[in-house]
Each structure stands twice: as C-alpha cells, then as structure tokens.
Symmetry: C2
C-alpha cells in the first residue's frame, strides 16, 4: 500500500485524487490546498463524493501531523519557478514526487539552474522527482522516444496530436479559444492563457533520448479559423473566427528540422488522432485513431507513476529513466 499526500486540488488534482481513491494499492493519507473553501473539507468527499476521513490541510506539516506518506503528488502549477519551493519542502521531508507541472517534465535545457537545484536537493535527500502527464510526459515525447528504440538511426521525428474539441468539456473549448473573436483570441494568446505548456520541454526530451544537440527550438501559436459557420461546439462560431488553437514546435540541427510537434485542438476538427512518424531505419508511423483523452490519461499516468518513482534513483528524473509506469490496477 503506497501512501500518497496530494498537493493541489484544482480540477486536475481532484481527478487525480479520484483515480487514486478508486485504486487498490494506493491510499490518500493527506491533502493540501490553499483555497480556503477547500481547507477542512474531506478530500474523498470533494473528489469522488465518498468521504475517506482525510481532511484537506493548508500546509504539508498539518497534513502529515498524524499520517506518514510514501510519496507526494503535486498538481499545483505549470511553472518550474513556482513549483520549486513546493518540491524543496516535500523533498526535505524525504518524499519522492510525481508532478503534473509541465515545465518539470524536462527543464534541463529551458531552466537549467532551477533544474540543477531541484536535482541536488533531491539527491541530498535521497528521493526522486519526476514531471509527467499525457502531454508533456507521454504522447509527444516519451512514446516517440520509446518507439525509437527499434531504430538503427533516426533522421526526423514528427508527432501530431489533433483533437476535435466539439466532444470535450466547455472549459476545454473555452481554453483553446473556440468561439472567441480574432481580437479576443490575440489577447488570450498574448497573456499566455491559451497556450498549451510543454511543447518545448517535449522537444528537448526527445532530443535528449536521441542524443541530439539541438541548436534551435521554436514554438508558434495560431488560431485555427472556421472555414464555415460551426454549430457543433458549446457556442456558434462564425466563418473566419477562431475555432481552436494550433501550436507547432520545431527543433533544428544545423538548419535541418529534426523534430516537429504539431498540437491542434479545435471545435469541428474532422478527426481526433495521435500520430508519431519516425523517419530513419526503419521508417514507420504509429497512430492512435480517435486519440487519447487528455484528462483521463494525465490523471492515470500520474497515479501509475507513483509506483514507478519509488523504484527510481534519487534526483530530478525524466520519464526516460524511471521504470515503465504501467497501469498497476488489479484486474
């Protein structure tokens, strides 16, 4: 039985907790959130409608006053800078960490100083820490790296994650800018609230797996525009208006585009799919038609990684160097 303390009970944290509560083999023994409306509530009741006797605390110290945890699940922020003090506190309490913090998935190139500090504090306390999730953490970085294992050489890696948002929750449709005007989209794009975080980290993880030294990494974000009026989403979208977002990340060596990540989520997209194309020896393409639901997958891989991180070597790890966090639920 692995005892979990969970930090962060926003929508994703609640879903992760609800998954952990469903599982055999793991147990939530503590929960922390800063939201005064959540503090004091039963975490089981909040996340799955069924009380589990564990109250949400304001601080880690309070949460672990009467309970001992084996591992911390951190679903608080996307920013490495913001997650650093949380990681430090947990690690100094000798708790290994699994986090959905996107920038933690591969911070070695983007924020090497913070990465090094986190690595050192993990090592000196003898625990491992990893950033995971479906994306970054799996579909656009770990899985392509795994697939490259059967290659004698790799020339290029091209990953597409395309999602029809019509079938997704309204907040998701809003998040990707569907139904906004051109100006509204630009505003959200500029203040960063539209952006899927992690594309650059995914590029760096793939490059690391393939032993590539990229000399240029770039990321673009554009609206996907409706070619005709769309009525399949939560709100009608006029012709030419944004129906979603497209982000493209590219990694180059000597001017050659070696890694291309194509993320597109829009209302009225014809087909959802996840596709990985490797050009090399051999060349092949692997496709998941229909795609993988992001909310389910991120929550599931986070819980699955709780078991894997306990077997990982101390330090700031990546998905590449921890045991396979396969689904360990009992049949």
């Amino acid at each position: 039985m692995i005892r979990i303390v969970q930090l962060g009970l926003g929508p994703l944290g609640q879903k992760v907790a609800s998954y952990a509560l469903q599982r055999e083999g793991v147990k939530i023994v503590g929960a922390v959130d800063l939201d005064t409306e959540k503090i004091g509530r039963d975490v089981g009741e909040l996340c799955s409608g069924k009380p589990n006797g564990i109250k949400i605390s304001k601080t880690l110290t309070e949460a672990l006053e009467d309970e001992k945890a084996d591992v911390a699940v951190v679903t608080t922020v996307s920013s490495l800078e913001k997650v650093e003090p949380q990681v430090k506190e947990l690690v100094e309490a000798h708790l290994p960490i699994v986090s959905t913090c996107e920038e933690l998935s591969f911070p070695w190139k983007t924020q090497p100083k913070i990465a090094k500090r986190i690595d050192e504090v993990c090592k000196s306390n003898g625990v491992a820490c990893v950033g995971t999730g479906v994306n970054p953490g799996f579909l656009m970085d770990y899985l392509p790296s795994v697939l490259s294992s059967v290659c004698q050489d790799v020339q290029t890696v091209h990953v597409s994650r395309v999602q029809d948002a019509s079938v997704r929750r309204i907040p998701f449709q809003q998040k990707i800018g569907a139904g906004l005007t051109e100006e509204g989209f630009k505003e959200k794009a500029n203040n960063g609230t539209l952006r899927h975080v992690g594309l650059t980290e995914s590029i760096h993880l793939i490059a690391h797996a393939l032993n590539w030294e990229l000399d240029q990494v770039e990321e673009t974000l554009e609206p996907v525009r409706a070619s005709k009026k769309i009525t399949s989403g939560y709100t009608d979208i006029d012709k030419e208006n944004p129906r979603g977002v497209e982000q493209i990340g590219k990694g180059f060596i000597d001017g050659d585009e070696k890694i291309t990540l194509h993320f597109r989520a829009a209302v009225g997209e014809e087909e959802s799919y996840d596709e990985i194309e490797i050009e090399g020896t051999p060349s092949f393409s692997s496709r998941i038609s229909g795609g993988i639901n992001g909310d389910i997958a991120t929550s599931a891989i986070t819980v699955n990684t709780v078991a894997a991180i306990l077997k990982a070597e101390p330090g700031l790890r990546t998905m590449l160097d921890i045991p396979v966090p396969a689904c360990f639920s009992t049949a």
Copy 2:
C-alpha cells in the same frame, strides 16, 4: 565510447554487429563464436565487409586477452538453459549483458529457478542483464506495457503482429513453413523449428507490468492455409497448403481471457501491421501500418539497449525496469 564484446555471430549476430560497427558511441572490441570457419576471421570484415582489426575468438578469455569490454552482447541461443552458462561466465567477468535470447526476456514464471540463479549471479557481481529484441522485447510486450501507462484500469490487452512474408527473405519464408505440405508443416511444428519463441514470455511480461496474477497461459500453433494458389512467394503454394504460421498466446484470470497475443506470418497476407488494443479506461488502439521489420528492429534495439543496461541496477532485469533504450545514434 562503449566497448562491446559480442558472443554469437550467426545471421542475427552478424546484423547486430554490423549495426554496432556503423554507430558512433559504441565499438566492438571482441567477438566470440564456436564456428571453426569463423574463428580467426576479422569480425568487421565478416559482418560489414570492412575489417575493424578484431579477430573472432573461440573463447571469451581469448577475446578479452588484450582488450577491455564494458558490455557483452549475446546473440547465441533462444533457450534460457543454454544461455545460463554463457551469462554466468560473462557476469563473473563483470560484464553487463544485453541478449536476444528470447527466453531471457521474462523467465520469472516459466523457468523461475534459472531466473533466480541468473539474478543472483548478476547481483553478486554488480552487473545487469536483460533479454530484448523486437519480439519478445518490444512490440508484443514492452510497448503494450508502456501504452498502459495512460490507463486508469485495463480490462484486456490484445496484440496482433501480422506479416506478409512475400516481401521477406527466403529463409524467413521457409522458417514459417510457407510452401511445405501439410505433413512437412506438422513435422516441423512438432520438432519445434517452426515456432516463434517468446509468446509466453511476452504474456508474462505484460501481466507483470499490469500487476496481474494469471492462472493459465496457453499457446497454439497452426498453419495458415492458402485459400487459392499463391505465386507471390519464393515458391508456388497450392490451394489448401500452408502459406505460413499462426501462433496465438492467451493469458487468463479466473477463466477470463485477459491477454491475447496473435502472431501471424504468411506469404500472401493482405497487409502487414502491428496493433495493440487496450480495453480499459481509456480504451484505445495503436497501430503501425506496414508493421516493423523484425531483423532491423531486433538488431537496432539490441545495440540501443547496450547504453541503457549500463545505467540499470544490477540483477536480471526486464525491459520494464531499465531506462528507455532510445536510439542513441547521433543525428
């Protein structure tokens, strides 16, 4: 620079060596084979037509008389019993091992005593050993386990590897029984020369990844019969005669078929593909249309795993608990 000593220079061993010779970052410093026609020959010349100054030796001791190796690649036998003394000798020389021995990929359930002995000798000598390859080792076991990482629960796993042998080498077409009579097929099936080794090991690896306790594992082997005369292979095949082989492996819990592995290689197969279907939360299917060429992939993953095994913990490891052996060739 990782220095490799290679044991076994049959067709697969030669291809693995040729791949290692092409790579930056690895170097063959010794080679061993029992074939008197090969002993004394230059391994580079034999495997890639370009001498590398390393002569093939009869024994490990001779091979490493003047050279120091970091890791051994073993491409000798499929049987765990037969590989055990080879593993023991290498491990006692403190060499980590990557082997294509199919039964080594997951011997814990099928041959637990030998597995335990190998694990112990590895641990007491502080080195790691792993069995890998495309199948077993990747397509029908490791990759489905990796894919399950995004699942909250898994109900069933179904893997199909279907190959049109028309485009493959003549020895491959012969190996799968294409062009034999019904009687000839039965004879080869009975003496075991037709059989793809590893299906049972793959089932056990998946079950281990998913934390499942199977109570029954079975394997069948049948000819694939021509529904009409076939002329696309190395030899004409009459209607009703074998055009290839189909092996099905199944793993059960309480009478429920939880894992199904479907391996089919035949001349005149309409389509080659590798497909993994997971039924669970979420359910999805991942498909590589055209499939993965087995010779290339097994040779490549063996070389890739050479780097991963050096970072693995001592003991008899599986693909599940070593770092991702991504393709480390430089771009």
